[in-house]
């Protein structure tokens, strides 16, 4: 009690100082052009290393220090991508992969959210369900592949099932953990205002759980992209994973690297979409990242 109050007093004095420093920061950042420059400068800084490396390798091969056969230079990778795009192959492969990830992610999120919510909200269900789920989680998900193929066939269903399994666990754990971690003190505020069960869920639990849920979704999506590759390794005739295997078997490293780059772009883009879509709901968050980002 004493400790927490001391900390609070400390936080108070700190927050009392904050507006001053913030004002000072505003005064410094007052001319709009440097502020805008800085906003674009930050992502540019992150691009410096990969672009530099690419440029270096391009020059290295161009100068003849390497034949670039196993590690193709960027122009060759770009040419491969353009070639695939021109023939319509690329769209077909990307569509196949994105569809699989989308379906698997959707299924995994729905199942993980529902079961996670039940486990988090209802103690008896948690005691019944959670040990089994945790045991299943301990199985490396790729180990399911032979079984899924036997059960669901070699085509789309088994692939989507594998991705869904990969997405399910982080979402389940995230939702359950978030519900269990909801501050009892905040729930008490709801009780004092005599919220009904549904109102308590809508007005207290959902907003309190949302930040952790978004993180769980993003982790789940990352795993979804991971598992789509595994799924497409097990006998696919289209998809970015197929491009990888095909490139290996036919000795086309440029095609492999091209597929890898497209994976990176797609993964980053979808992650960013989740971030953008949920940002308005999380504006209230006192996130460290935002603080340092604003500074």
């Amino acid at each position: 009690m004493l400790h927490s109050s001391a900390r609070r007093v400390l936080a108070m004095t700190m927050s009392a100082e904050l507006p001053v420093t913030r004002e000072r920061a505003d005064a410094i950042a007052a001319p709009p052009i440097p502020a805008r420059l800085r906003r674009y400068a930050r992502p540019a800084l992150g691009l410096l290393l990969p672009l530099g490396l690419a440029l270096f390798w391009e020059l290295w091969v161009w100068l003849g220090y390497s034949n670039g056969r196993l590690v193709p230079p960027p122009t060759k990778i770009f040419a491969t991508v353009m070639e695939l795009a021109k023939s319509g192959e690329l769209t077909r492969h990307i569509t196949a992969t994105v569809t699989r990830v989308g379906a698997g992610f959707g299924l995994g999120v729905v199942a993980g959210t529902i079961l996670g919510a039940i486990s988090g909200y209802w103690g008896l269900a948690r005691q019944l369900l959670d040990p089994t789920v945790q045991a299943l989680r301990a199985i490396p998900s790729i180990a399911w592949v032979p079984l899924f193929i036997l059960w669901l066939g070699i085509f789309e269903t088994s692939k989507i099932a594998l991705i869904a399994v990969g997405v399910f666990f982080p979402v389940y754990l995230g939702v359950m953990g978030a519900i269990l971690a909801v501050d009892r003190k905040i729930v008490e505020v709801g009780r004092i205002f005599r919220l009904s069960g549904p109102a308590m869920i809508r007005r207290i639990l959902l907003p309190a759980v949302l930040p952790a849920y978004v993180v769980a979704l993003r982790v789940g999506l990352g795993l979804g992209w991971m598992f789509v590759v595994a799924a497409e390794f097990m006998g696919a005739s289209e998809g970015l994973g197929y491009l990888l295997i095909d490139g290996q078997q036919l000795g086309k490293p440029a095609q492999i690297v091209a597929a890898i780059v497209i994976f990176a772009i797609l993964g980053k883009t979808t992650d960013w979409l989740i971030e953008i879509a949920t940002a308005p709901l999380l504006r209230w968050q006192d996130a460290f990242g935002r603080q340092s980002g604003a500074a």
Binding site: V9, R194, A199
Partner: protein
């Protein structure tokens, strides 16, 4: 009239937190409950709020037994407990969701102005200082116009200046509708500034030890000799409450109206 009749609480882990606490508190009265740690002050307050049920005895407000949170009883905790995802205005209006939006907004605006935070309506709770946040919490509790407002060490986390400021502010707000205030505190100064009656508790198990009436006109001057005198009364009672050689007062005489010694 809020009546506490032999309220006792034993927690499931066997801790005997509160024993046979009785008091009758008139509408509009300000009562401070003071005592060392572990004397069941907060337990008592939570029982009155309906957050935890008493193991024995009853709490009744105007003859209605309190076993769950009640519309006419509000509470302010040690921490502001604002909902971080709601703006300051939405936090204040949290308990008014039954009302139409325009009436709610009007009440919230008035409450914001009343606690001097009209310019913070759209701010997030994290942007407030500790004192401001606690003022929002006070506004949130007062906006539904409770008949009884419970305060659980509401200013103990604040610095001395802010605490004094909020004590005066609380009295000012109290004058609007004159709800019953029951204030748990461990600050003698705060008890004597605010209360009509100070209930001194003694620990293990928590029980009522002594009742001290503060017959001082408001506003009270913290520097006056009379004020000092009352503070000394309370301090002496607190010291005596911790002395195991002094027996409890006769429970029968404690059940009735205030004693004067």
């Amino acid at each position: 009239m809020l009546a506490l009749d032999k309220v006792g609480k034993t927690y499931p882990n066997g801790v005997h937190a509160l024993e046979r606490f009785s008091a009758r508190i008139k509408p509009g009265e300000i009562v401070a409950i003071i005592g060392g740690s572990g004397c069941g002050k907060s337990t008592l307050l939570r029982a009155i709020a309906g957050l935890d049920r008493a193991s024995t005895g009853t709490v009744t407000l105007d003859d209605a037994a309190i076993t769950a949170p009640h519309a006419k009883i509000g509470i302010i905790f040690q921490e502001p407990r604002l909902l971080p995802w709601l703006s300051v205005a939405d936090n204040i209006g949290f308990g008014l969701s039954d009302l139409p939006a325009d009436i709610r907004r009007e009440k919230v605006d008035r409450a914001l102005a009343r606690v001097g935070l009209a310019d913070k309506a759209k701010a997030w709770p994290r942007e407030l200082s500790g004192g401001q946040a606690q003022r929002v919490a006070i506004a949130r509790a007062l906006v539904p116009q409770p008949e009884v407002l419970l305060l659980d060490e509401p200013f103990s986390a604040l610095d001395a200046f802010t605490r004094r400021d909020l004590q005066d502010h609380l009295l000012d707000l109290w004058k609007d509708t004159r709800p019953t205030l029951i204030l748990v505190t461990h600050d003698v100064d705060e008890a004597v500034v605010l209360a009509d009656r100070v209930l001194v508790m003694r620990p293990r198990p928590g029980r009522l030890f002594e009742v001290i009436n503060i017959n001082l006109a408001r506003p009270r001057d913290r520097a006056s000799p009379l004020f000092e005198n009352f503070k000394r009364h309370v301090l002496t009672a607190l010291d005596r409450s911790l002395d195991r050689n002094i027996p409890d007062a006769d429970p029968k005489s404690m059940a009735g109206e205030a004693m004067w010694w």
